[in-house]
Symmetry: D2
Subunit: 352 residues, 4 copies
């Protein structure tokens, strides 16, 4: 019953084996080894983007921030969702890496925005006005921070607004694989084919130990990336161990397999609690994460039974057993079906 | 014959086993797991510093920059050796993490400086002059960038100058273990007992995959560290895999054992080439790294025989077979004795 | 009919005379002259704050940014109104001077917020969460960017919230004098007596050439200010010419006299156009600035008659003569009554 | 006997009159007034550079830092003299405005360097090495910080090295006028005609109140300047008062006239003390500033007689009356000949 985070799960055996396999002899450091080159090629292959610039980073915030740093001037503002990870969960890393750019939340929903909202947000800033923010890149999160998805059509429409405004489009893909698996599309179809210019391609939450790829489709936008990475203390000396993870992750479709499994387990969990009295999904579950309102007494029963997850809104302590509290539930590939079944059982059996 | 870098070597089996061992089930992310807590305690134990603040980072530049960022105001200057890694090899990461501090090289030698030189460098800046740099921390590198060492007495004298000037003393210990092994002293004796306030305690070059510890003896100096780390995109979600490395590294003295072995192998290499006609040590070898002038024809013979190392000064191509070129040779624990013997053989047999 | 900005007006003769009077002989540079000392004392006297730290700056953005830089860590967020000058009109100067802090807009209104809204905004960030923004200072603008005022009671309530949250309270007082004149209170009553910790005390918009004072009531908060000012290229060598302006501005209550006159002229303008068909005040006029919806044909008539002011919303060009466009009207002390009368006349006489 | 600084002198009457003359009615703010446009044209005319981008700033550090910020990436190093103002007297403003670039001192002399030294300094950094600093702009100071000059030929040779290395050449011309007057050349001859790409053109030290022009010959290099200026809080609202100074300064050659007069007075001072026993010029006087070793007893006699200047090396207090102390003497146009005569008299008459 461990649904706290896909960051809490273990490394997939195939990825761990690849790390162990890479542990042989002396090889050049700082990314000049053959395995790093091969893994970068693999990323380009999966994205069907032979010209793309690819960099391996150990954290998602690093990938986001270095990409945004490359795309944004200090006086520009980045357009993103209200609850975008880059805006509310990275302790100002984007501000630091851009030397002081702003982030402008777009739209009414907290998880995502649409092309009309983006157009309106962009047009609120006049490029001629030197006192205001200038137009910077747009960033979408796929899967969003509330577990929902952008359709390919929605991304395409957003990209069109970006093109009109001459700003680049970034995708925070910490859960890129879960989205692609859910949409049943390829990496290319969910990125450059619908107008995305750069992707933070996550692997850590989906079975890797610590590796994300910054994928920038137009290499011209990446000419300074390596300098920025070095200056940010984010160049690994023993690069082969990052590369080995990514290589294994992309071999034989492991990335989609693990994400599909995580999504399937989340759907199981959804099925198990749907329909329980007082249980209400805050957002439609579309991938491997869901936000669910449940009465306090249900949460209590679950916690007492050993379930491990976060309560996002409300306090477990409190008088009213029926007060709804918002729980966040995330599945990775390693979550056990038995735990899901037990969870549903406890939730269904809970009484005030 | 692989002497290019201790960054090129593999992970020690005991450390790799610890990583694999940690790969079990779900545990809290972002450093809130038991293994991370245990590994931090281990660091405190090894340093005999129960109050110290400890943070795990994936690169040496990260440890250096976050520590210096914590100790330095943007208008202060950091005092360091002419060839300090923080000054010449980190692509301005210290400047970035301090938001624009300077680094002031101290002394005549390129690798290290003494307390008199430091005193003179500090006194060149008047604290009352608002246009000049203000006094910032002092940073020593142990082992130095040229493979030499500070004696404990030298560090103590430098620390005294720091105390007089009321500035903290940082030690870049990317090769801390090699120094401690060479000096035959404990971690405490080489750090806080001689007045060091913060250490970048390296493991990556000495058998780990990617982990360094920032050790700050006075926790008051570290209150902002975690925020800085987060903002720098340097907090690992799956912290247990960093912790596992450090835990194994510090168990049963593995860290000193590996460093001692690396030093011993370097001494073997030194023995093998000392006395060859035209071979001249640029600096006394004191740990696991040496810089050696050798005639071009010797370098050529070695390269042709498959040796792998860097030429720091001069070009392999060139007419004069006797022109001395500066080679850099580093040993880690994994270097093979047979390779060393072969290297010496080739060097001795080389003819113009 | 010049109502575009109080930045467009001339320097008051008494201030210009003081500048000319200061132009005598050699005096120490960089603020070490007697006139600078005297002018700082005058500021302390007017604010009844003998311990306050005072610095002279040439622009309002400089005063705001240096104060906020002194009060804010890079990972903190500043709380301010939606249309605060620091948020929307300073091209990220606050972000630059704080090395990447955020600004969080507070409340429903665009011009100001109340203590309940502030409390709610602050409590949305948990100090324990290392991924979110930390709590930074609160900033109120007095006169607000829409020409309205905070009452002393409102400021006191906001200050109480700040004290509870242990964050400082800054006042952007680019039009401090106009507010004090309108409220009929002293500088002290509108600042530290109601809990304000630091004021950007403007003079430029109210008859000076280019001088603002950063007034920080607790000198401990200002210990780094001079370094920050120097590093920001904002220390005048010939400081006496800044000081002379401020000295004259504060002598014999000139600052309140000019502000009172500006307010009176704005009230005249208000009277002149109030009640005209289709004219609607977007905000209550409370000092020397007002935002007024007027039909397009009225704007056209005024512009044709030579009026000079900004249209904040809508376009002068357009088919519908009755479409309301938002005009901004600002008076300084130098605006002519005849122009106001003429303006009212033209507006009243305008026909579609 | 006021020789402490050309920053201590008054504003020239013609410049003050121009300020007063500009004080008429309402004009657009933020540089959109006719006087600002006219003054910029005047700068372009004096520099014979009709395409140049021109910006007015209130301090020399602002001009230097904004130009260097425009020309330098955070990972680049700026090449300058050991005692360049940007390196030792601006409290890290260049580091702040470039977001963390370094400054690399060039050459053996403290005041200036030559093209060979520059070539050697540049070639010490390899553009392929991602860990080192990348090549940034070169900055020369004319008049240097020790009162000496670069000849046009020297500048041309330095510019050639810059072109070869593909880096721009900046001139810190806080005393540009004094240099041009001393060399008898035009503004164009001392700047773009010998390969300078951008000039900080000073006026404040030479009779203005507070105005410097950033002159960038290729407007492409200046496209971001206005944004940078705004973000740095360095855009004056009442721009006309900066413009009025510059306009008057450049009218009828006033700038060269005042500088020539300052140089002449400095030569007089030089004549008056040359040859006195124990008096030794540390650098050849070439413009309006000189550094002179004089025995302690001479300094004491001067100070007692009311002379005002700085002692750069050594302490006035001390036992040995013959110990040489280094005095700095600067003349502006307003220094009185009688004071110079008296100074020489006192110096000549001084006895141990």
């Amino acid at each position: 019953m461990k649904f706290a985070s896909d960051n809490n799960g273990p490394v997939h055996p195939k990825i761990m084996e690849a790390i162990v396999r890479a542990n042989e002899g002396h090889v050049p450091a700082y990314g000049n080894d053959a395995l790093t080159a091969a893994a970068k090629d693999k990323v380009r292959e999966v994205f069907e983007a032979p010209e793309a610039s690819v960099f391996f980073l150990p954290t998602g915030t690093a990938a986001n921030s270095l990409i945004l740093g490359s795309l944004t001037k200090p006086w520009e503002t980045i357009f993103c969702a209200n609850f975008a990870h880059i805006h509310v969960d990275e302790c100002h890393a984007p501000e630091a890496f851009t030397n002081g750019a702003k982030l402008t939340p777009v739209g009414k929903r907290i998880d995502k925005f649409n092309s009309e909202e983006l157009e309106s947000a962009i047009s609120a800033f006049s490029p001629e006005n030197m006192q205001q923010s200038a137009h910077g890149p747009v960033s979408v999160t796929q899967v969003t921070e509330r577990g929902t998805l952008y359709t390919l059509e929605e991304i395409r429409a957003i990209a069109q607004v970006c093109r009109n405004a001459r700003v680049p489009l970034h995708m925070d893909g910490a859960r890129f694989a879960n989205a692609a698996a859910a949409l049943g599309c390829t990496a290319a179809e969910m990125s450059w084919k619908v107008g995305v210019d750069a992707v933070s391609f996550g692997a850590t939450k989906n079975g890797a130990m610590a590796v994300e790829a910054a994928v920038i489709f137009d290499p011209v936008l990446a000419v300074e990336f390596r300098r920025r990475q070095q200056r940010a203390a984010l160049v690994f000396s023993k690069s082969r161990y990052l590369a080995a993870q990514m290589e294994a992750y992309l071999t034989d479709g492991l990335w989609l397999e693990l994400a599909g499994e995580a999504n399937r387990l989340a759907a199981l969990l959804e099925d198990g609690i749907e329909g329980i009295d007082g249980v209400k999904f805050a957002f439609k579950r579309e991938a491997n994460m869901m936000f669910v309102w449940m009465p306090r007494f249900v949460h209590r029963a679950l916690m007492e039974a050993g379930a491990y997850y976060y309560i996002e809104a409300g306090e477990l302590e409190g008088d009213d057993p029926h007060e709804p509290l918002l729980g966040r539930f995330v599945c990775d590939w390693s979550v056990e079906e038995a735990g899901i079944a037990r969870f549903a059982e406890v939730a269904q059996a809970a009484r005030p």
